[in-house]
């Protein structure tokens, strides 16, 4: 296992470096003179010069790159154009909100998918199964930026059960964004659980258990579920990464003060250091989550390591 972890860790290095390079080069992809673009039309030459200096654009490219990597290594993500404070500060401030949303969405998905997937598997091809599968289909086809507003109309405006937006009312604020973001995941998860449990129900050990007099319900919960959960857990972990990007849209719908909303606001205000840092943090979190889920997969299923 230790060897596997080390090997996977080593694989992370070039990928992370690649992503840092990509983000570094973003600012150089701005058409025309980035400093002029950032300062805006009709800016005074001294402002343009100041921005060029602040971004290090007056240095040769290789020197900019080395400086950029050096600063990152020291945890320095840059200074915001808008607030003149270190961008890392704002990110630290927003990070918990995004995590809260992601975990909330995951909780919703599990809450919906487990009963639905299990029932679907046990009563395969019955009407319940068909309803569950139809739900799964709707769930993957419905864009969150449509489902979210529908939820707001139904449960924040027509019935004022939850706030329309923001994060000020604790758990009540979390419900609608978490349901919006959890819908697609719950659809994927329902399908996954259905297939996985159905497969285990066909195994010989289930026949044996029932032949020995164990009740069907007990056999399902004690034996089948345990085996069926292995692939489900990994899918769940892998999907956590996509929740992070889903948060960009969901946070925008509900004005949720997380990283995604920070990113979009910074793009609109041309606060490039903040944009670069937000993208970097989301991307690195995404990579780390995927790395952890890989390890989890190897831990629950020893066959993986051999590959």
């Amino acid at each position: 296992m230790a060897q596997y972890i080390i090997r996977r860790l080593l694989q992370l290095i070039p990928i992370t470096l690649g992503i840092m390079t990509l983000i570094f080069s973003l600012i150089h992809m701005i058409p025309g003179d980035p400093a002029v673009q950032i300062a805006g039309e009709g800016a005074r030459p001294e402002d343009v010069l100041a921005i060029r200096k602040a971004l290090g654009l007056d240095q040769p490219l290789w020197s900019q790159y080395v400086h950029y990597l050096g600063r990152l290594a020291h945890g320095d993500l840059g200074v915001s154009f808008r607030t003149s404070t270190p961008v890392a500060q704002e990110i630290m401030h927003r990070y918990p909100a995004t995590m809260e949303l992601a975990f909330g969405a995951m909780f919703v998905a599990i809450l919906v998918a487990f009963p639905l997937g299990m029932i679907s598997a046990i009563y395969r091809n019955s009407w319940i199964d068909n309803v569950a599968r139809f739900f799964a289909l709707i769930g993957v086809s419905m864009p969150s930026f449509w489902f979210g507003p529908l939820l707001i109309i139904a449960f924040a405006i027509n019935h004022t059960w939850f706030p329309v937006s923001g994060r000020d009312e604790g758990l009540r604020s979390l419900v609608l964004p978490a349901v919006t973001m959890g819908l697609a995941l719950s659809a994927i998860l329902t399908r996954m659980i259905r297939v996985s449990v159905a497969e285990e129900l066909n195994q010989l050990y289930m026949t044996t258990a029932i032949a020995k007099g164990v009740t069907r319900v007990k056999a399902i919960f004690r034996h089948a579920l345990k085996n069926a959960l292995i692939p489900v857990i990994t899918v769940l972990a892998l999907q956590f990464g996509s929740l992070l990007t889903g948060a960009i849209i969901t946070e925008q719908i509900f004005s949720w003060p997380g990283l995604g909303r920070l990113l979009i606001t910074s793009i609109n205000t041309r606060d490039y250091p903040q944009v670069q840092a937000s993208i970097l943090v989301i991307a690195v979190t995404y990579i780390l989550v995927n790395f952890i889920s890989d390890l989890l997969y190897a831990a629950v299923d020893p066959r993986i390591k051999l590959e």
Partner: protein
């Protein structure tokens, strides 16, 4: 029974897709009003006999804007898929056929792009290039080609060892000729399936970017942008948020059904690979 359901899904997917294409092409004939004509006095008016889907915040006919919006969606969808598939097929077949350093380089670039969440990269690219229809297409194609490259490379690796390829080489055919005439025809079916599903993905991604204000700029009607402006009038004029969403969902569902049906017809091994 399952076959029947699947055929039904395929047929409805094909039907929805045809409707989408017809609407996009014939939008000027079908739309009852000019999509950009404003009637500000009647802004936010709910659906009526004259305006079946109501009027938006500037008093423009929502139905006409949705019909014209299909053009934007399909234009982005087809452009992204064509560009991404062309780049992906070229790089994937080169990597698979020649192997060695070329293969390693191309695949490492793929790894980095795959490690980066797709929509985030698209957002980043549009953020620096500036929001516009062409930049959305460029951004989505930049993240889209990786899937094709990996798919084609895998298929080429298999086909490369086949006897007819060896025979063609033995007869003196040059590499490009072997790839185009002998290798590619054998990998085209899974590419078509991927392209159909990719069309749905691109339409959804365009709507998402436009929703974030990073896509098509006003006054061009785009379903995602319509949803964004509709979001500001929730509770006052719900029709603004509801109808563009239905359009997106029908288009995406139709293409997904179609792609799913094509899997069985063109690429029966696909499901096995995905499992």
């Amino acid at each position: 029974m399952r076959r029947l359901v699947r055929n039904f899904a395929f047929a409805s997917g094909a039907l929805l897709t045809i409707v989408l294409i017809v609407v996009a092409i014939a939008a000027p004939l079908l739309a009852p009003f000019d999509p950009n004509a404003q009637d500000t006095i009647r802004r936010l008016e709910p659906p009526s006999h004259q305006h079946p889907l109501g009027l938006d915040d500037l008093g423009r006919d929502v139905l006409s804007r949705i019909l014209y919006g299909a053009r934007v969606s399909l234009r982005v969808g087809f452009s992204v898929v064509l560009i991404a598939a062309a780049i992906g097929i070229a790089l994937g077949s080169t990597a698979g056929y020649f192997g060695g350093a070329i293969d390693v380089t191309i695949m490492r670039i793929c790894d980095i792009l795959l490690a980066f969440p797709g929509i985030l990269l698209a957002i980043a690219l549009v953020a620096v290039l500036g929001p516009s229809l062409n930049n959305v297409i460029l951004a989505l194609a930049t993240i889209g080609w990786v899937g094709y490259a990996r798919l084609v490379r895998g298929q080429v690796l298999k086909v490369r060892e086949m006897e007819y390829v060896t025979a063609a080489k033995a007869l003196g055919a040059r590499s490009p000729r072997v790839i185009v005439l002998h290798v590619l025809p054998n990998v085209i079916n899974p590419v078509i399936v991927m392209a159909t599903l990719g069309l749905a993905g691109a339409i959804l991604a365009e709507a998402a970017l436009s929703f974030l204000g990073l896509g098509v700029q006003p006054p061009t009607p785009s379903w995602g942008a319509m949803l964004t402006s509709g979001r500001q009038y929730l509770g006052i004029a719900n029709h603004l948020a509801i109808y563009p969403g239905i359009a997106i969902m029908l288009a995406v569902m139709g293409l997904n059904f179609l792609g799913d049906g094509l899997i069985d017809a063109l690429d029966p091994k696909y499901r096995k690979r995905m499992e």
